[in-house]
Every structure is written in structure tokens, then in C-alpha cells.
């Protein structure tokens, strides 16, 4: 049983009227790992998570979560999953402790056990100095810790976290991820959606979504190693002009500005991509340094979404 994946999805599709929010996603999420959905806003991350929780009915396709079919067996699944919504969804006029207590009672956790769990979680999530503070007055980081505490209160096998760190400062984000790794080490499967590249890089497994389609999947290292382009980093005074010149070439998949540098994704077919780029710049009367670098996740993302566009 434990060898079977936590989530298995075949051809999962969801329409909202004419809009195709999720389009034929096939995916397997391994147990006791942190898996990530990476994609921009509107790429279908939340919709997919909601379908997997049984909150939205798929238009087509099938999904099995922890061996249960959704949405048919969604009710049986409820006890086994924890869900942290994108928007803070706890009661702002209830205190930290009251929120935890309420959710514990909804899950019918026995009184004594619940008191133990709450004490433990308050300490783990550094909320033990303010159990009586109203949730509405907490800072972004504190709210997020409370939301995760609530989502893990009933010790779910599987955690869905929908953009959990979007309203949180970098320090809180780091601590948050350490907590996720601790949960994962304890055997919890975590599925997290994000649009932050640095966050995506921490996941064991990654699925890149773009406009509802799954465009790449694998571990971050594998995705980086297998990116279908050479990445050339360019430093050039006239970076706007260089951007323009390179974008016009069919060999160039995309050019992105990263601070003062440009990242150009060029076809793998070119034997010396850096020389080729320098030559193209020289033709336009530009001087710049160019070197081939290891791709980062953003490059992977750009390459994957470009490949889909080219195929369309």
C-alpha cells in the first residue's frame, strides 16, 4: 500500500464556462515527499488542488488520492487530508487557541488528545506566547503558521498547501519550509503550489503548470539538467538593444532580463552557443560578455512553456 503513489491523476480536466482551467493533467505524487506545483497565476494550480480535495468536480478525467477516488469518495478522504487555503480562512474574530480548538472539535479529536496536540503545535509553531490573541491581528507569518498548525492538527497523511507563503516575508518562508521538511520526515506527503522559483527548488518533485497544462515534471535537478536549451548569460551595456537583437533570431527560444544580465535560451543544436551569441551581438554593433551557464528553474519554466507554444 505504501508503495502506491499518494496521488494518481489521469487526464484531469476542468472547464469554467469557455475557460479551460486545467487541461488533461497526468500526474503521480509520491508518498512522504514534498511535491510542488509551479506556475504563474491562472495556470491551474489552485483548481487542481481543489479537485484533489474534492472541492471541485472535474469536467473529465480521474483522480485517486490516498487510494480513494475523488470526488466520489471525497467524504472518506476528509479525515486523511489537511488543506491550507490560499487565502487565510480561519476565523479572524476567534483567538489562536479558539481556532485550533474549534477545528479539533470538528475533527472529533478526543478532548485530552486535543489539548496535547494544541500545546505541542503552539510550541512548534511559536504561537505559545499568544494563544489568546485574535487571529485577525496576527502578522502574515503568524497567520500562516496558525493555518499550517490547523491543517496538521488532525495529523493528516497528506497536506495540500495552496501558495502558503505568498503573503509572508523571506525569513518566515525559510522557517516555514523547515517545518515542511520536518513533517515530510515524519511521513507526511506534502503537495504545495507556488510561483516562487526558490521555493520550487526546495521540492523533491516538481510539476510545472502553464495555462492549465502540465508542461514538465521531475525533480528540480533533473528538470535543470534536461532542459531543452542552452542557457547563455550575457552582460552587455545596451541590454535592451541586445534583448531586441537576440529575440528576433529563430535559434533563440527566449531572452529574459535578470537584473543587469540577460539569460538567453538558445537551441541545443548550436555547437558553441556563447560564441554564437557574441557573434550575433557583434553583427549588431554591440559588445558584451557571454558564457554558457547551468540553467535555473526559471529557465526550465520558460523553456517548457515555449516548447508547448511551439507545438501548438
Amino acid at each position: 500500500m505504501s508503495e502506491s503513489p499518494a496521488i494518481r491523476v489521469r487526464g484531469l480536466t476542468r472547464h469554467f464556462g469557455a475557460l479551460v482551467a486545467v487541461d488533461g493533467v497526468d500526474l503521480e505524487v509520491p508518498r512522504a515527499r514534498i511535491s510542488g506545483f509551479l506556475g504563474p497565476n491562472g495556470s491551474g494550480k489552485s483548481t487542481t488542488i481543489r479537485m484533489l480535495c474534492g472541492l471541485l468536480t472535474p469536467t473529465r478525467g480521474e483522480a485517486t488520492v490516498l487510494g480513494l477516488r475523488v470526488p466520489e469518495d471525497a467524504e472518506k478522504l476528509r479525515r486523511k487530508i489537511g488543506y491550507m487555503t490560499q487565502r487565510f480562512s480561519l476565523y479572524e474574530d476567534l483567538s489562536v487557541h479558539e481556532n485550533l480548538e474549534f477545528m479539533g472539535e470538528i475533527y472529533c479529536i478526543p478532548r485530552r488528545r486535543l489539548a496535547e496536540r494544541i500545546a505541542l503545535l503552539l510550541a512548534d509553531f511559536q504561537l505559545d506566547d499568544r494563544p489568546d490573541q485574535r487571529a485577525g491581528t496576527l502578522s502574515g507569518g503568524q497567520r500562516q503558521r496558525l493555518a499550517l498548525a490547523v491543517a496538521t492538527l488532525h495529523e493528516p497523511e497528506l497536506l495540500f498547501l495552496d501558495e502558503p507563503t505568498s503573503a509572508v516575508d523571506p525569513q518566515s518562508r525559510r522557517e516555514f519550509w523547515e517545518t515542511l521538511f520536518a513533517l515530510c520526515d515524519a511521513g507526511t506527503t506534502v503537495l504545495v503550489s507556488t510561483h516562487f522559483m526558490d521555493e520550487a527548488e526546495r521540492c523533491h518533485e516538481l510539476a510545472i503548470l502553464d495555462r492549465g497544462r502540465l508542461v514538465a515534471k521531475g525533480s528540480p535537478t533533473r528538470l535543470i539538467d534536461e532542459v531543452d536549451a542552452a542557457v547563455v548569460e550575457i552582460e552587455c551595456e545596451a541590454s535592451r538593444r541586445a534583448h531586441e537583437v537576440l529575440s528576433q533570431r529563430p535559434e533563440v527560444q527566449s531572452v529574459a532580463q535578470l537584473g543587469v544580465r540577460l539569460h538567453a535560451l538558445v537551441d541545443r543544436g548550436l555547437s558553441r552557443p556563447d560564441d554564437w551569441v557574441r557573434a550575433r551581438l557583434a553583427e549588431a554593433g554591440l559588445v558584451g560578455a557571454a558564457r554558457v551557464v547551468r540553467a535555473n528553474l526559471e529557465d526550465v519554466f520558460v523553456a517548457a512553456t515555449r516548447a508547448i507554444e511551439a507545438a501548438a
Binding site: 481543489r50 471541485l56 467524504e75 488543506y83 487565502r87 480562512s89 472529533c108
Partner: protein, 369 residues
């Protein structure tokens, strides 16, 4: 030129945007036409201060030709509709207590003898004085002439002696306060429940709540339970104020009153639940609650006598919880009726509760789609 043109441009921009909002908000858009339509129809067609067709009972203990003619004449005025005939004064009074009738014609056995003696009314008109408008209409019957082949002129005295029950001093608080229990509960209960669930929708709490093992029925019952308690607090407060400040007599048993009010509160709360399954914002819930509140206030018999309304409006009003609640509280508080006597009013409330609760549970999905 710009000084003149720019304000106009901005005013028009705001106005045009406002129309776009209205066009997309079907509920508010609907109220633009719906409210005047409803109000005009209700006020113009259903509400009738000139009351006719009061439900009446006759106890003709004389059984003479003239007594039969008197009952027929009273019916012919259209002020009353004779719906019951009984054989004793007691039976007539108990019909009045149960609310089956609001006017009773009591023609005593010595009717003929009384006619012969000048100076005493020949018959009695028993009236539910709880409603001043009903009382006023019934007074119009007092001087109904007695048909007499030999003496066709009207007698120099009233035909009937008026016996107004329950509110002999005709004080309006006695009429209004019991009804207020129902009206206040109708307003607050519907608003409280509908807003309570919609607020969770609006604030995003519901998305989390529906991923927990909670069942729809559990959520619904858990939501209305506290408001039932609040309903009892409100009833108690109104009754206390009514009896202490306005000397409204409470003639029936308090237990009966609270039981009746409890059923009514539950029924009204389900209306709030149903609204909450349809509304997406607290404002929409508020609008819908208002739309259900208005006809209840106008047609339930709180502001105008139920008997005075046309048949169609009466049938519609029978579907409102408030209509039945008013009959229950008035019967228990003013007429001292026991709960059994208002059983026919409890049944529709239970039905209302069952149907709306069922609809709410069916409509509420633990889904977002």
C-alpha cells in the same frame, strides 16, 4: 471649456459604471422593478382597510323565522361570512377562542320576547376585540334592522349588544405587542442566519470548513441552534416589556407560548438558511431577507386584518410562517387558548421547517462548483 467639460465627463463615467454594476447584479437589478411592483400590488390589491367577509359563527337558540332572517341579513351585508353554526353560547365562545371565527352572532332563546320589550338589544354580537379594525367593522352590524312584516321601520335601539372579547378597553398595545413577537423574530432570525453562513463564504472560512468531515446537516443545525436560543431571549424581552410597560395580559400558559414560538423560530431560521445558500455576499443576503420580510409584514394580518384580504392574497399568506405565528401568539396571549387549540397553525410551521431545511441541505454543497 475644460472646467465645464471635465466634471460632466467624470459624472457620466460614474453614472455609466453604476448602470454596468446594476446590469450585472441581477438581484439589485430585479429589485428596481420588483419592489415597486410588489408594493403596489400588495398595497393596492391585497390590503383592504374596509373589512368584509369576517369569519363568523351563529348560535341561533331562538330558531324562529325572524331569528333566521336576522342571520341571513347579517350575512347579506357581506361584513361577515357565516362559516360555523353551533347550538350553544359556549360552543360559540370556544370557536372565538380557537380563532376559527372572529365574530359570533348569539341569538338567545328569548329573542322574540326581547324584541317585544323596547329598550334591550335583542341579540348579542361577540367580537374578537384583539383587532381594532375587526372590531370597527363589526360595530357596523349593531344597528342592523330587524325585518318585520308588520313593523318595517327600524327599531329605535340597536339590534345587537356588543361584547368585545379580550381587549374591552380597545388599547392598541394589546393588539400590537403579541404580534410584535412574530414580526421581530421574522426580521432578526432571517437576517441572523442568512448572514451567518454568507459571512463565512465571504471571508473564505467556508472553503476550509467544507474540506473537514463536517456534514451539511450538522453544519445547518449547528448554525441555527444558537439563534433559536436568541429567539427565546427576544420573545421573553418583548413579553416582559409588553406586560410591564403596556399591561398586555398574558392569559395562556407560558409553556405553550414558548413551544409555539420555538416551532416558529425554527421555521423562520430555515428561511435564513435557504437564503444563505443562494446569496454570495452579506449585502445580497440582506436584500433577499428584506424581500421576504415585506410581504410577510403586509399580508400576515399584523398590519391589516387577514379576513379583509382577497382569496389569492390569503392563500399566499398561508405559506408565511408569520401568519401562523400571529394566530398562535394572539390565541395564547390574548384569548388564553391552549396549545392544542392552535394545532392547525403548528402543522404548517412544521411543514415549512421540513421543506426549507430539506431544500437548504440539497442546495448546500460541500463543493465550490
Amino acid at each position: 471649456m475644460r472646467v465645464v467639460r471635465e466634471p460632466f465627463a467624470r459624472i457620466l463615467a460614474i453614472a455609466r459604471k453604476e448602470f454596468r454594476h446594476l446590469r450585472r447584479d441581477h438581484l439589485t437589478g430585479g429589485m428596481v422593478l420588483g419592489v415597486p411592483l410588489m408594493m403596489t400590488l400588495l398595497f393596492g390589491y391585497a390590503i383592504n382597510q374596509d373589512v368584509r367577509h369576517l369569519r363568523a359563527g351563529v348560535a341561533d337558540l331562538a330558531g324562529t323565522q325572524r331569528s333566521r332572517l336576522l342571520a341571513q341579513d347579517a350575512q347579506a351585508t357581506q361584513v361577515i361570512d357565516v362559516v360555523e353554526r353551533v347550538e350553544s353560547a359556549e360552543a360559540l365562545e370556544s370557536l372565538l377562542v380557537s380563532g376559527r371565527i372572529s365574530v359570533g352572532l348569539l341569538i338567545p332563546a328569548d329573542f322574540e320576547r326581547r324584541l317585544a320589550h323596547v329598550g334591550r338589544p335583542a341579540a348579542q354580537l361577540l367580537v374578537d376585540g384583539g383587532d381594532p379594525i375587526v372590531l370597527g367593522a363589526a360595530r357596523g352590524l349593531l344597528a342592523l334592522p330587524i325585518q318585520d312584516r308588520f313593523r318595517p321601520t327600524a327599531l329605535a335601539r340597536p339590534t345587537f349588544e356588543l361584547r368585545a372579547f379580550y381587549n374591552p378597553e380597545r388599547r392598541s398595545p394589546v393588539h400590537i405587542v403579541p404580534g410584535l413577537c412574530g414580526v421581530v423574530l421574522t426580521l432578526t432570525m432571517v437576517l441572523f442566519t442568512s448572514v451567518a453562513i454568507v459571512r463565512e463564504k465571504e471571508r473564505g472560512n467556508l472553503e476550509l470548513l467544507i474540506t473537514t468531515p463536517i456534514r451539511t446537516t450538522e453544519l445547518m443545525i449547528g448554525k441555527i441552534l444558537p439563534y433559536t436560543a436568541i429567539g427565546f431571549v427576544q420573545v421573553t424581552l418583548i413579553l416582559l416589556l409588553g406586560s410591564q410597560l403596556f399591561d398586555v395580559p398574558i392569559r395562556g400558559r407560558l409553556v405553550d407560548l414558548y413551544l409555539g414560538a420555538g416551532v416558529f423560530v425554527a421555521a423562520t431560521l430555515t428561511l435564513g438558511l435557504l437564503i444563505s445558500t443562494a446569496a454570495n455576499t452579506q449585502f445580497q443576503a440582506f436584500q433577499m431577507a428584506f424581500v421576504t420580510f415585506l410581504p410577510q409584514i403586509l399580508l400576515s394580518g399584523f398590519m391589516f386584518p387577514f379576513d379583509g384580504m382577497p382569496r389569492g392574497a390569503q392563500l399566499l399568506a398561508e405559506t408565511f410562517p408569520l401568519t401562523h405565528m400571529l394566530r398562535i401568539v394572539r390565541a395564547i396571549i390574548l384569548r388564553g387558548a391552549p396549545l392544542e387549540a392552535v394545532g392547525p397553525e403548528i402543522v404548517p410551521l412544521l411543514l415549512f421547517f421540513g421543506i426549507l431545511m430539506g431544500l437548504s441541505i440539497l442546495r448546500f454543497r460541500k463543493r465550490l462548483d
